[in-house]
Structures are given as structure tokens and as C-alpha cells.
């Protein structure tokens, strides 16, 4: 898949993983792993970018004698997920048209 497209899709996947509840790095990777292949090297830039864009905030919680960093989805982040879904509907419509769903016209 084109790398730009992939990056955009991965970003929204990460946001989605935070939709139900706040989560931390490794947990996000585990949650996404059945559907999406993700590693820390990809995840960190995404979280950083999303935080810069105001879609995600972070906070630390003490856990087993260290600080575990949690990420939280903001209303902006929620909007981002919805925008993606709206855009994707258009892509699907275009795809159907190009593919020629009404094959009898051909």
C-alpha cells in the first residue's frame, strides 16, 4: 500500500483503539494486532503527531514501581475518526463507479 495512505489509516486505527478507553503503548499494539501490524517505531511518531494535533492527550500512572504513560482520545480525535469514515464512504462510491458495478453497460 502507498506509504502515505498507510500512515493516514494507521493514525485513525490508533485513535480508534483509544475510543473506548484510555490505553498505553504496548496495549494499543496488542489491541490492534489482529487487524493491523504495528510496532513501537511506527506507534511513537503517530502518538506524537496526534498529540501535537490535539487529538490525544497523555498522562502518567504509577505501575509496578515505574510510570506508565496513558493516552486519552480528545473530542478532536473523535472528530478525526468520524471524518475518516465520511471520506472513506466517498472513496468506496468512486471505487464502485470505476469498477463498473453495472456491468451490463460495458
Amino acid at each position: 500500500m502507498d506509504i502515505q495512505l498507510k500512515r493516514g489509516i494507521l493514525e485513525v486505527c490508533v485513535l480508534k483503539a483509544l475510543q473506548r478507553q484510555d490505553s498505553y503503548g504496548y496495549q494499543i499494539i496488542k489491541d490492534l494486532s489482529p487487524s493491523v501490524e504495528l510496532s513501537e517505531s511506527t506507534l511513537y511518531p503517530i502518538l506524537r503527531r496526534m498529540e501535537g494535533a490535539g487529538c490525544v492527550t497523555e498522562y502518567s500512572v504509577e505501575h509496578s514501581g515505574r510510570l506508565r504513560k496513558y493516552y486519552h482520545l480528545t473530542p478532536s480525535g473523535q472528530e478525526r475518526i468520524l471524518d475518516f469514515l465520511k471520506e472513506w464512504d466517498e472513496v468506496v462510491k468512486a471505487y464502485d463507479f470505476i469498477r463498473g458495478k453495472n456491468n451490463e453497460e460495458a
Binding site: Q4, Y24, G25, E40, S41, Y44, I98
Partner: protein, 365 residues
């Protein structure tokens, strides 16, 4: 490798970052390793799961603000090995002024080089033929490549343009764009001018191959594809006897009013528009996903036009009447709408669409 060594190595290699950012990055990865160890994976395996260290570093740098994207000259002592521990007091923090100075020097050298080369090529043009061949001879031993990536400030502050030497003596112009819109227009003057919404993304190189043929390449690669507002590169090209090659990965391409010897355009995902374009020998365009709209394409007798689209439509309007052309058109899945072509003219036209519609018409019919 131990977690402690890995984090220390990371700190070393990112030592130019502001302390907050550095702590943030290293904290994230330290956490990631801890989480895996908690899961029951051993320390070595947990560190290994972070990926190949150099690749990881590249990814991290690529996601940082512009000024931290390239690593400053500092390197871990190779004799000690990449992962060797360094005592804290040896950690090198380059002072900001030093970095600035390096950049300023590089910029000055590039600017001087740009001025010299522009001056030299203008001089050779002004002086006429004998010096043009001198220009070629000087630069045609083996292959000479030089990069000039310093934009010349031009009009608006948020736009910058490249003022490039004219195309006299240049056999081939290659323009490569990734994730941006590309517009090509004729130039009023002899010069090539390229405007970009982000001049730092525009690079120009010039090469001479073993046969003495000179190729000018303009490359614009943007980091992100902005679907609703793509970055844009406008290039003004003077008329000439060069071969024009255009490669666009993701983005629309528009050629308007150009004249060249040969035109070759490849667009992977995007719309290609050709308006009033003249090719003295041949014109060929390939679009993988997108469409081709071509109006008023002029090719002389014995010339050829070839347009192909994998997924998308082709709309082509040719000047004159069908008798001047020999047309070979095919559509695998879609509509083929061409007039009954009885001509067996000496301009060969090859059109092919895999999935999509193909419309062809002639101006005089």
C-alpha cells in the same frame, strides 16, 4: 542487549534534542521494553522487539520537527561499537550557534555555487556557440552531478522559486513529484522557474551522461499527502528541443501550452490534463489510477501519440480530421466512444484503457 545500554545509546544518538523531547522519546521506549518484560518476554528479546536500532532512529528523527531530522555530525566512536556505554560526562551536546554556523556556511556555499553556475551558463549562452560547446566539454567528462537546493527568494514570502539556467544544451528535463500537484506552463523567458508551496521540498540536479547528453531533474517530494489541499509545484519551462519526462506518484499533473521534442508522462494516482501541448516527435502518457484529459494535442506527421490508463477514463480531442491519424483504441471494461475512423494517416495514435471509458473526437468533425 541490555535495556540500560539501549536507552543510553538512544540518548546518545538523540542528544541534540531539547531535554523534554529527549526524555519523552526515551521514556516511551523504556516503557515499551518494560511492558514486554512484564509480559514475560526476556530483557534481550524485549529490546530486540524495538526493531533494528538504526532504522528505529531514522523513524524517530523523521517524525521530529525539521531542525532535528538530520543527525548532527556527532557519532559514537566506531572502535567502541555502536552500543558501547559512554560515561555521562562524554555525552556531546552540540551548542546551537555551532549548528547554525554550519548551516550558514553550507547555505553560502550553495548560494555562491548557484550564482557561479547561473552566471557561467548565462555567459555561455550570451557568447554564442563556441562557448556553449566549451560548457558541454567542461562538464561532459564521465558524469558530473551537482545539486543546488537553495531557493531564490521571489515575490511572495511564503513561496519561493528556483531560477534555473535556461535549457540551451539540455537534452532532457525530468520532473519528479510525490504527493503534490504539478502544473507545467511555458516560460516567458529563457529560464526555467519552479514555484513550490514548500521550497525545501524542491531539489534540482543536473547530470551529463557518457554520451554528453545533459539531463535536468527537478524533484519535489512532500511528506504528507493532504487530500483536501495538496501542496503544489508550478514549473515554467521555455520552449526547446528537449525530451520532457514527468513522473508523479500521487497527485494531479497538468501540462498547458508546452512544446517539447518528446513528452513522456507517468502518473501513478491522479488526473493528468494535457491542454494545447505540442510534441515534435512523440507524446506518451501512462496513468495507473486516475484519468487522462487531453485537448488540442499536436504531433506532426510521422509522429505518435500513446495514452494508456489502467483504472480511469481517457478523453482525447485531436486537431484536424481523422484522415491524418491511424488510431488503435481498446477498452477492456468500459465504454469505447470513437468516431468511425477511416483514416490511415501517418500520425499513429495508440489508446488503451483497462477499466474505464474512452472518448475520442476530432476537432474538424
Amino acid at each position: 542487549m541490555k535495556k540500560h545500554d539501549f536507552i543510553l545509546w538512544l540518548r546518545n544518538r538523540l542528544s541534540d534534542l531539547p531535554p523534554e523531547e529527549l526524555d519523552r522519546v526515551c521514556g516511551f521506549y523504556a516503557n515499551a521494553i518494560d511492558e514486554r518484560m512484564e509480559d514475560g518476554i526476556g530483557e534481550e528479546a524485549a529490546v530486540h522487539a524495538m526493531g533494528e536500532p538504526e532504522a528505529l532512529l531514522r523513524e524517530i528523527r523523521a517524525s521530529l520537527p525539521e531542525q532535528y531530522r538530520t543527525e548532527p555530525g556527532f557519532r559514537v566512536n566506531p572502535r567502541e561499537g555502536v552500543y558501547a556505554r559512554r560515561p555521562a560526562e562524554q555525552t556531546y551536546r552540540p551548542a546551537a550557534p555551532k549548528r547554525g554556523a554550519g548551516k550558514a556556511i553550507a547555505l553560502t556555499v550553495a548560494a555562491i555555487a548557484a550564482v557561479i553556475i547561473t552566471g557561467f551558463s548565462l555567459f555561455t549562452i550570451w557568447s554564442g556557440n563556441p562557448f556553449s560547446s566549451l560548457f558541454r566539454r567542461v562538464f561532459s567528462h564521465n558524469t558530473v552531478t551537482y545539486n543546488i537546493d537553495t531557493p531564490v527568494p521571489y515575490e511572495a514570502a511564503d513561496e519561493a522559486a528556483f531560477l534555473l539556467p535556461d535549457l540551451n544544451g539540455i537534452d532532457r528535463v525530468v520532473i519528479r513529484v510525490d504527493a503534490a500537484t504539478l502544473n507545467l506552463y511555458p516560460s516567458d523567458s529563457d529560464s526555467v522557474i519552479a514555484f513550490s508551496s514548500d521550497p525545501t521540498k524542491l531539489i534540482r540536479t543536473q547530470e551529463t551522461d557518457a554520451d554528453g547528453a545533459v539531463t535536468l531533474t527537478v524533484t519535489g517530494t512532500f511528506d504528507k499527502l493532504h487530500l483536501d489541499n495538496p501542496p503544489c509545484i508550478d514549473v515554467n519551462l521555455p520552449y526547446g528541443d528537449y525530451e520532457l519526462v514527468i513522473e508523479s506518484d500521487a497527485g494531479n499533473v497538468c501540462l498547458n501550452g508546452l512544446i517539447a521534442k518528446k513528452i513522456d508522462a507517468t502518473v501513478h494516482a491522479g488526473i493528468l490534463e494535457l491542454q494545447s501541448v505540442t510534441a515534435k516527435e512523440s507524446l506518451s502518457a501512462v496513468v495507473n489510477t486516475g484519468s487522462i484529459s487531453a485537448f488540442d494535442i499536436a504531433v506532426p506527421a510521422q509522429g505518435s501519440i500513446s495514452l494508456s490508463c489502467d483504472i480511469g477514463n481517457i478523453d482525447l480531442s485531436l486537431p484536424g480530421s481523422s484522415s491524418a491519424y491511424t488510431v488503435n483504441a481498446s477498452v477492456k471494461l468500459g465504454n469505447l466512444d470513437i468516431p468511425p475512423v477511416t483514416g490511415s494517416g501517418d500520425i499513429a495514435v495508440e489508446l488503451s484503457v483497462n477499466v474505464g471509458d474512452l472518448n475520442l473526437w476530432f476537432d474538424e468533425e
